[in-house]
Symmetry: C2
Subunit: 241 residues, 2 copies
């Protein structure tokens, strides 16, 4: 007789709260509840499901934590549109992300900047261009004065690009990715600023802006690729565990 433990499944080890949460999710689905709809009060759920109010509260608290419901005293609880970025944000606040996750996120940001060219060209407005112009001009002036490279301008320019995309989720995403970006930037090895660009010259924010004015998405992409080359160069040579 051959023993095979692959065919035997462990009996589910779910807590009551886990089960209640599943039931709640099912309840929302079956009743086709939408944003703004209110749900029964805790005691009613407790009675209906035959568990204590404590368990119901814990399950509901989970939902509140991920932003699916909101509760108000006396009024009860209503379904809300979850803020998908917010949870991300909270998790990051605790500074518990490992090296690998940080690298992943850093890469993610490079990917986003490379990929959003089409959106920029489709959504840009005259005002946006003017704003960008101001940002670039200010940078040029200050850098002339101080010969000091400031992350501030970096953030202002690239942040504005995300704004141009007119994609709220994307923009908020980058807001949240900024600290990570800074972290990796700060831990940059010495001499990284003397980076040798393969094409010989560096694409500046001014260059990018000009392309945004008169060029097309494709040339913007390649210019951005050059602009980000030092970062790409560093990242692409990291061997992940």
């Amino acid at each position: 007789m051959k023993s095979n433990l692959d065919n035997i499944t462990p009996l589910e080890n779910l807590s009551l709260v886990d089960k209640v949460e599943m039931r709640l999710k099912e309840y929302f689905k079956v009743n086709n509840l939408k944003i703004g709809d209110s749900i029964p009060k805790e005691l009613e759920f407790a009675e209906a499901l035959g568990v204590s109010r404590t368990v119901i509260r814990e399950a509901l608290l989970r939902l509140r934590t991920i932003g699916v419901i909101e509760s108000k005293k006396r009024k009860g609880m209503v379904l809300t549109q979850p803020d998908i970025v917010q949870n991300f944000e909270k998790a990051i606040e605790y500074n518990l992300l490992g090296e690998e996750a940080l690298i992943d996120i850093f890469e993610l940001r490079l990917i986003l900047e490379m990929g959003m060219a089409d959106l920029l060209f489709a959504r840009k407005t005259e005002e946006d261009i003017e704003d960008l112009d101001k940002i670039v001009s200010k940078q040029e002036k200050e850098e002339n004065d101080t010969t000091f490279f400031s992350l501030k301008h970096e953030i202002a320019f690239h942040g504005k690009l995300y704004e141009l995309s007119n994609n709220t989720t994307l923009k908020r995403f980058q807001d949240l990715l900024l600290p990570v970006f800074n972290y990796v930037h700060d831990n940059m090895p010495e001499g990284a600023k003397d980076f040798k660009y393969s094409k010989g010259e560096f694409v500046t924010h001014r260059d990018l802006l000009n392309i945004l004015k008169n060029g097309d998405a494709q040339s913007f992409r390649e210019a951005m690729r050059n602009h980000l080359e030092p970062h790409f160069d560093r990242i692409l040579h990291i061997v992940k565990s």
Copy 2:
């Protein structure tokens, strides 16, 4: 006497749990706790902060929900690496995302696919190419047989691309974005399949694969842009509210 309510600020309206959560976060920071470290038990926190165990539990539950801590009976609680994608995932499961958020996410996916070319070329292996080849061959065969366009192949191919990136976060991200992608795809207006490509011809998966074999990142980007043109075309003409 002129009454002016601008100079009076509302006193903060935080719940006890809110405050406790802040204290906990501070506690982690001050003690410089890292992943794997264990934290005091509920009763100790309760006593130290002078609140009931319930409140502590609710605050800790929030942390557990976003994946910052894990708890085991008798053992206590330990800090864990938060799974940043998981929270995203949970929020989406409740089908409460509004039209605008869905569009944002759909755009995000297009951006990712456009932006990851460099990563693909830096990380691709012989095996990856072989796998992709199998996927494409299978698709070609089945489509010849049935003349039936299947999302299955679409998912297999593009999913594999994400895998190539060797970026776990990115890959998991697209896993989670798939349902949204399908949703938008399913709600595609009739006739979208007869889309007229601006350059006259359609870049197939086979074409992309060949570029991945012998070409470079830049040409891959432009090929991908063509491949995704119907999606871009649709998205870029949506006027957001």
